[in-house]
Point group: D2
Chain length 388, copies 4
Amino acid sequence: MTYAAGRHFLQIPGPTNVPDPVLRAMSAPTIDHRGPEFQGLALELLHDIRPVFGTTNPVIIYPATGTGAWEAALRNTLSAGDAVLSFETGHFATLWQEMARGLGLEVDFVPGDWRHGADPGVVAERLAADTARRIKAVCVVHNETSTGVVSRIPEIRAAIDAAEHPALLLVDTISSLGSIDYRHDEWGVDVTVAGSQKGLMLPPGMSFNAVSDKALAASRDAGLRSTFFDWSPMLAANERGFFPYTPNTNLLYGLREALRLLYDEGLPNVFARHARHAEATRAAVRGWGLEVLCLDEREHSGSLTAVLVPDGVDADKIRGVVLDRFDMSLGAGLGRLAGKVFRIGHLGSFNDLTLAGTLAGVQMGLNLSGVPAGPAGMEAALERLQAD
Amino acid sequence: MTYAAGRHFLQIPGPTNVPDPVLRAMSAPTIDHRGPEFQGLALELLHDIRPVFGTTNPVIIYPATGTGAWEAALRNTLSAGDAVLSFETGHFATLWQEMARGLGLEVDFVPGDWRHGADPGVVAERLAADTARRIKAVCVVHNETSTGVVSRIPEIRAAIDAAEHPALLLVDTISSLGSIDYRHDEWGVDVTVAGSQKGLMLPPGMSFNAVSDKALAASRDAGLRSTFFDWSPMLAANERGFFPYTPNTNLLYGLREALRLLYDEGLPNVFARHARHAEATRAAVRGWGLEVLCLDEREHSGSLTAVLVPDGVDADKIRGVVLDRFDMSLGAGLGRLAGKVFRIGHLGSFNDLTLAGTLAGVQMGLNLSGVPAGPAGMEAALERLQAD
Amino acid sequence: MTYAAGRHFLQIPGPTNVPDPVLRAMSAPTIDHRGPEFQGLALELLHDIRPVFGTTNPVIIYPATGTGAWEAALRNTLSAGDAVLSFETGHFATLWQEMARGLGLEVDFVPGDWRHGADPGVVAERLAADTARRIKAVCVVHNETSTGVVSRIPEIRAAIDAAEHPALLLVDTISSLGSIDYRHDEWGVDVTVAGSQKGLMLPPGMSFNAVSDKALAASRDAGLRSTFFDWSPMLAANERGFFPYTPNTNLLYGLREALRLLYDEGLPNVFARHARHAEATRAAVRGWGLEVLCLDEREHSGSLTAVLVPDGVDADKIRGVVLDRFDMSLGAGLGRLAGKVFRIGHLGSFNDLTLAGTLAGVQMGLNLSGVPAGPAGMEAALERLQAD
Amino acid sequence: MTYAAGRHFLQIPGPTNVPDPVLRAMSAPTIDHRGPEFQGLALELLHDIRPVFGTTNPVIIYPATGTGAWEAALRNTLSAGDAVLSFETGHFATLWQEMARGLGLEVDFVPGDWRHGADPGVVAERLAADTARRIKAVCVVHNETSTGVVSRIPEIRAAIDAAEHPALLLVDTISSLGSIDYRHDEWGVDVTVAGSQKGLMLPPGMSFNAVSDKALAASRDAGLRSTFFDWSPMLAANERGFFPYTPNTNLLYGLREALRLLYDEGLPNVFARHARHAEATRAAVRGWGLEVLCLDEREHSGSLTAVLVPDGVDADKIRGVVLDRFDMSLGAGLGRLAGKVFRIGHLGSFNDLTLAGTLAGVQMGLNLSGVPAGPAGMEAALERLQAD
């Protein structure tokens, strides 16, 4: 039996459901990227994008995806042979670390259990030990998309400061920006890496580097540079509302609309909405008798929830049932979590009743996959949503 | 607290949620309605629209809404002073009857309790009594949008036949076509009235008359005719793929896409999907301890469910809470049911998880409005959806 | 050789090229037509539509095409047997008159040569002769879409006033509204009939009646009424931002955007733009050695230009060549002008270079059809466009 | 005086006018890039993209712009210190060469006058002289977007072959692919670099590398690699219909539609259309008494025409007048041609009447800028278009 009618439930932790007005905005005709109309658009966007990062500094917009913005962060600030401190918080932290190694950086990759964020205590230790100041950067994934665990950036910043260490702080916010409270300036982040297709509610294809003055200074000596990712000509051209090469104009139209939606709702409301939906989701997971992957109450993600399935059950089989029977996409376990978890995305343009439908689909999918879930999960989630 | 993010749940019994591909199809540039491209489109549509009505006869497409198609049905077949038999099955049957009176027809309006369909036994009686054959038409609303009750057209047809009475059978399928099994030819209907904005999954603005040969014959002598609604020039122009006046081209684009979606799913699957969602909805209503308005098991609607609220409760207050808190529109009680029922639309482009979200919203809305609903409703609905 | 690439040139005198933002606006999801969001939209539109008609009185919006609005104007103001004065200015005036006859009105249809507007002198004559005040309405087509001739409404009004005759003045502005200066209130028009698909830059499917107080008063006794077209419940529901039956919501979205575009440009600028393009077009026609159908300099249309082809040439053959070779639709000769003229639409969302492309297509099409046109037409048109 | 009504004429040599169906296709909801529906789309596209490149080998699709694809071509095939032969055919050849230098390559940049393509004779000379086989790649821009000059790739290939030199042949087809005949396999190209926003009729944001087996072999030892641009994981993931990181799904929707349009028209027809429009444009330029920048009849571009303005005239002033008065964007002179030429883009989704409008705008703009152009240009262009 197919369920082709109705809307697909895209409940992976990104790409997220793009709001209709954003899709419509993106379908406007492409304009001359060297003309005055484009210039007006670009100046507006380069200004308006800043609050969502919590910065008054420049934000660089790449016509590329998040992987590109990761590479940009490393290439613009570091040179071959530089040491980097990084944390195995999950699949994406692992990939970023692999990229760093591939670029010739020397990575101290602190092992982890994929159920906790980066440990500020370890940051303190390693930096204190680095009396030669060989570590040039600390790389942290704010919200691990593969685990639903949030690293505590302010505490990591405090640890760096306490060590009086000059290392740059590079943070991946790909699945947190626009969903979970984040403050580039206040938290003293040097490069914030982000993408379009999660909390920003856009299709994939656009990514970002928010940069501190310290990062800009470091970029002058960085030796890994790439023309495509180079900050310097980008910032120079951006000053006048242009780009050093053809920008992806139609995604910029979408960005304008997405920012309008975010600011209309109000960032604090956006963050509260995500947190509330995450709470309801965790209530459901507990109601089903299952375990949330994240082990530290301080580190639960507002964007997604990774759910451990019982031993002997294949999480991907559950996902298959949910897709076939209920036309909903859930996130797969990645890397060492393959088959062990499924991930529920509850980020982006999302509301209570879509969450209710999502959790109903998970509950029924569990039952149909031989993981009797009972009604208590749904009940608990609705109680939470009903409460306030 | 506002919930602007995410998609609005439009769960009134029409207009229904228009599928994205239909909206996209409608945004194509308007073309010359006298040119060969339009001609190809029109010939295709005038052919392809027929199966959804269950007819091989012509279907007339009006650039007007359902009220217009009602008027067209009466004006093309009847003359001032003609007698018409009609049934008070609900608000829309009452409105149609008022229109008939306004046009100078003499209406025998059989009273009803708004909880049952038209009674085939009464049809038999009245026609038998009409030895003078003054009754020229029997008007029935197939699915009463105001009550969620389906009149049994085949039994009514059988009653007319048994009486050997020549009256035309005019049927309003505005909220059933494309949702509930319907067969213009097989059931011997003379004029089927329909609209675009329900089971056909289009925006409002287009309506239909499917016509039998007998209706066409009657139209030659009908005295209420209107230029805008006249079948005769329409059918003549349609033969060659044109219209006697400017058609609403962009809705025709949408119709092509909507028919494609319906036929891809398969009409029997479409009807089964609606019936299944209606069952799950009634299971929820019972679980909440509330009463479905429709009293006859044979007459439950696949399109919508009208729910009686307890005495002393204002159904519109519940609807207000649901709209404010959960961004969902439910149908109001109409006419004599105002404040006494709310209506859940589960028709058109719709699927299991959207129904789950819908019912979750109703359950929470009831609880928040002082009508303690408990979790049993949701639980029963999910059991039904999970079953097959 | 096909020319499928690029945009079709839709240069019929309507439907016109719908601006992209209007098409995008129309593709927003349909909303509950009984909810507060719709109410806000409707109240806004019912207010904002008035200036384009030059009225502060109500404008009725029908989910129907222009033919429907014609019928509405007659049905709401007149009764069977009433006398009406009407002018044979072209195909559409003839059709409207036929409709009036079909409704049982007694029409005095003043013959015309299809190359002039309605003669104010004849209006004066006929009304003066009507000492019994039997004539209840004077019906005039402002811009005859079939001929490109504009009737001088203020002079006709003056003639009625001079005769001190109580007849209503009903004016069809289907192809002039939003393109040619028009003033419902200032010119003392009683019912203005209009449609969506010309100067209003929308797809077809919406039409209008602007009504004077005198027309409203007349409507109380009118005997031709129709439920679908009835002003009275419409005006009552409109007061609160609703409609007596389902409105065509998505076209209303388009109307909001189209009005925004018109008012942003400024109505006087819109009219000047149309007049200038019409001048350039007539310059081209003269340059080709052909004749403009309209014979009176005071009556040239800003919306379209009808061009007489030489004797022995089939205008439809030229249109066919232009469509096949240059992917442009031109308007056909209608009624008695079939094959004798083609019509160039230069109305709606239109600019200089699109006009240049249009005229280039006509010039090449003439040459390829054995009507040697030479380059002087194009040259003259560009001179006009270049001048100011 | 503003001309906001109508469609903007985007006649820069890219981004080009995106066809409406492509924009509509791109506005479909984003789907799960790890699910079966995406997989089907990707497998289809990775197969169907090949003919437009004239290859049966893999084509890599980057979620990046053309500059990224340039960098990808160099990084995947070369190592720091490698020698590269390159030709100063214009602005973009200069930029690509600068990028190569920035990556640590040693570039032999053969000077040019920006009015000719790369000289096959010089290729022969330099490769013959390179007895040490230090040159690892010959980089050529097929169609110089800054000049409208096409380098003769088959003759360059022949020169490499004649020299029996193992250098790779890297060709930039950013403004020729899908507009000018091009054959990756037949012409023995090793890496073809392309972008979405020109002949492919898509918005910017997607770029391509078509790769020969020899290029793939070279990539195994290349030392400049980047994670984002790495061919190897891309090809591995593509095999199964996936990407190593999030692809830009909505542009892929657009690509599917754009390829459908191109193949429906037929690539030979597409190339002939562009060539014919280029001929008509050159006829116009000559008619205005101006000079086409390209000096070799064998090297005229089908995509764009660069027009030299008379001494003492600022080409950008003309462009400004054309934009202000006629709402058309023309391409600016770039680099050493700034102010000396303007460029007319006649590529992508384009037809005769849009070209006529474009040339009319240029002609009027010249006249209004004090460069009397006379009517002969327009006349000559229309004669060409009319001819066949």
